[in-house]
């Protein structure tokens, strides 16, 4: 084995195919997007080089800032509610006294395996202001409160984000729970013998030891928020107006609705940069020499 790993030709032989596929499928399109962002291009005709014009226009476009803001709101909701809920569920299932763990574990994951279309159709019905579950529930409880969940310019982005929270909390939970289960039971047992409460075990042992797992969860939640597209496309089509636009949706609009592919590529480049920056910051925050 040692001999084989020392042979650079062997290493190249085994890694090159994967690298080649990665380059073609991921890296080349990103480079092409970057290149096209410097062009005025409708996607079909000959592209005209315009230098930084697309970026100059982007930074003066109100829609860009609204999309950016919505991405941050979406990511914030995912971090607080999706990760928060997943953490609570993980704590609960790590508790020895909780029964039916297998049942709960599977139940939490059910929404994840649903297609986004099915989830959105379901929530579209729940949010419906005339016939939906929420407004009728308020009515049944005698509350004089009705809400246009998806047609309110201020709250639509929150309503859309919560559909994502509902659907993918189980995913975050699974990652966290798997991480928690990989912590040696001896540590937890020792803490219990020393008289630690469940809360102390959760906060002082589980959380610190799940640092790398949380790093990954943060990356998923934040970049997932910035990248959000499918839920708003199915639930609101970005509306009302532009109130549920994210940068991904803006890219889609520029390229496919308006026919400005070059401009769409520029917003896509900013999106990629934003995600890379977020990942870098998360890695910086979570990197410490302290190892568990």
């Amino acid at each position: 084995m040692q001999k084989m790993l020392g042979n650079k030709r062997v290493i190249a032989f085994f890694t090159l195919p994967a690298l080649l596929v990665f380059t073609i499928v991921v890296f080349y399109p990103i480079l092409q997007t970057l290149q096209k962002s410097f062009y005025d291009w409708d996607g079909l005709s000959e592209a005209i080089f315009t230098g930084l014009d697309n970026y100059k226009e982007l930074f003066t476009d109100d829609l860009f800032y609204e999309s950016l803001k919505n991405g941050l709101i979406f990511a914030g909701i995912l971090v607080v509610f999706q990760m928060g809920l997943a953490t609570l569920l993980m704590f609960a299932l790590m508790n020895k006294n909780i029964p039916f763990k297998r049942f709960f574990r599977s139940s939490f994951f059910i929404p994840v395996v649903l297609s986004v279309t099915v989830a959105c159709q379901l929530w579209s019905s729940i949010y419906d202001p005339e016939f939906g579950l929420f407004n009728n529930l308020f009515q049944a409880l005698g509350l004089n409160y009705r809400q246009n969940w998806l047609s309110d310019m201020n709250w639509a982005i929150v309503a859309v984000a919560f559909v994502n929270v509902w659907q993918f909390t189980g995913y975050q939970f699974t990652i966290m729970y798997s991480g928690a289960k990989s912590i040696p039971e001896d540590y937890l047992e020792a803490a219990r013998i020393d008289g630690a409460t469940n809360m102390q075990i959760n906060l002082k042992i589980l959380l610190p030891m799940l640092k790398d797992t949380y790093r990954m969860c943060f990356v998923f939640a934040i970049t997932g928020g910035f990248n959000a597209f499918a839920h708003m496309n199915l639930l609101t089509k970005g509306g009302p107006g532009t109130s549920t636009y994210t940068l991904t949706y803006m890219t889609f609009r520029s390229a496919f609705n308006v026919g400005e592919y070059g401009y769409g590529c520029a917003s896509a480049v900013i999106l990629v940069a934003q995600c890379l920056l977020a990942t870098f910051i998360i890695n910086k925050i979570f990197s410490s020499k302290e190892k568990y």
């Binding site: 005709s45 009705r146 246009n148 998806l150 047609s151 310019m153 639930l235 089509k237 107006g241 308006v258």
Partner: protein, 428 residues
């Protein structure tokens, strides 16, 4: 009558088979088995129409088989992608916006010569020749289908009669009707605001009363939202929205939702194209009708009575530049479009079908509401366009978004400010 019918069939057959065929196409006839792909609406009545037209093609080209693909209703995205990869169907439906983009990239055939040689225009009504043939670059790229449909303001007679509410004929009466309908818990107008064109048509229903250019004039930069006439219309829309003209969640409602509200009697009025007439008859029977004029103008404003939203577009059947058989595909597209539209007029009573109708007879009796439309069609004028077919796609997207905001309570002032900003930016 029999003689007239026989004559009309004879003329139609002659036009389809002989007169339309230019010399270049005749030369291209061959016995080789040819399969052409056709991308067009292909479900329910549209399927029967396409199959009928395919039979007509077979009469002239027994060796040509048409393979249908259902038209993807995604704003042209699929077809644009297929154009980029050189994978367009031989013949396919385009609207004005898509035709312009594909023409610019050389993805579809220019049909000027075919039109000149075949005298295809002789089969088209003058308003179609004037408004629906030439693309932005002045050339022809399609054989018109589906015609110039006006957007009609439908209403449920029974709701108005049962509740002793006057059917609105002008703006003041509309506002009164909204108030009275809301008082009995009926939605005044059902709207499918998730789609762009209905909100654009609603805007034009008000704007056209004040300015014959409607949203098209704004998109071309010849008018501004802050102009007195547009400002008046916009403020009226904002007032109607505030009074509760639409159902809750209007910007999130699709066609099925809005149609269900209207046909189940939960909404009193409904905006849709003239193609909805047969559904109206099926769903509401004699209780279904449409307003002869939009109730959005001052009382007595006769000059704007028949200005209608909707209107002309260069929509039709285009031929891919990559087709293996350009001459035959072009001729097939022409025969197909002509036969389809004649059938659409005669059998399916599409009264605005883009064909000359003097020699065509409608099968069966027209319902009163259809006769009403047939009577007013010559009076209708179109100064605007469907919002999604505007040449200024940037403005079209901005305007649709702004209109959605207006529909959920954005102030008229903010709307005017934002639309003017978009006009300035997109017409530079």
């Amino acid at each position: 009558m029999k003689l007239k019918k026989a004559l009309s069939i004879g003329i139609s057959a002659a036009m389809l088979t002989g007169l339309l065929v230019p010399a270049s196409v005749q030369a291209a006839e061959t016995d080789e088995e040819i399969t052409l792909s056709v991308c067009i609406h292909y479900y329910d009545d549209s399927k029967a129409l396409a199959d009928y037209a395919a039979e007509k093609v077979k009469e002239k080209y027994p060796n040509v088989t048409l393979e249908f693909e259902d038209f993807p209703q995604d704003g042209g995205q699929t077809l644009k992608t297929r154009a980029a990869t050189g994978d367009l169907p031989d013949i396919f439906k385009v609207d004005g916006g898509l035709a312009d983009v594909l023409a610019k990239s050389g993805s579809i055939l220019e049909l000027d010569d075919y039109y000149a040689e075949s005298n295809y225009e002789e089969n088209l009504p003058q308003n179609v020749i004037d408004n629906c043939l030439k693309s932005l670059d002045g050339h022809i790229y399609q054989f018109p289908i589906d015609g110039i449909p006006p957007v009609l303001w439908y209403y449920n007679k029974q709701i108005f009669e049962d509740n002793n509410i006057k059917v609105p004929e002008n703006y003041d009466e509309l506002m009164t009707a909204i108030k009275e309908l809301r008082a009995i818990d009926i939605i005044p107008v059902a709207m499918f605001g998730k789609e762009p064109w209905p909100v654009g048509a609603f805007f034009d229903a008000f704007a056209l009363k004040e300015n014959p250019g409607g949203v098209k004039a704004l998109s071309e930069g010849t008018s501004k939202a802050s102009d007195e006439d547009f400002s008046k219309a916009i403020n009226r829309i904002a007032d109607a929205v505030e009074a509760g003209i639409f159902q809750d969640g209007v910007t999130n409602a699709d066609y099925e939702t809005a149609n269900a509200l209207f046909t189940e009697g939960k909404a009193a009025m409904f905006l849709n194209g003239s193609w909805y007439l047969s559904d109206l008859i099926n769903n509401l029977g004699e209780n279904g009708d449409f307003l002869e004029t939009y109730p959005t103008a001052d009382a007595g404003a006769e000059d704007s009575k028949y200005r209608m939203a909707g209107g002309p577009d260069t929509a039709g059947l285009a031929v891919s530049a990559n087709t293996e058989y350009p001459e035959i595909a072009t001729d097939v597209a022409a025969i197909f479009a002509s036969a389809r539209e004649e059938q659409e007029y005669s059998k399916y009573k599409l009264l605005s079908a883009p064909v000359k109708t003097e020699n065509l007879e409608i099968e069966g009796e027209l319902e009163d509401v259809q006769q009403k439309l047939l009577d007013i069609i010559p009076e209708i004028t179109y100064g605007s366009k469907f919002i999604h077919t505007l040449a200024n796609t940037k403005f079209s997207a901005d305007m649709t978004e702004e209109l959605q905001k207006l529909l959920v309570g954005e102030s008229a002032e903010d709307f005017i400010k934002n639309v003017d900003k978009s006009i300035e930016k997109s017409t530079k």
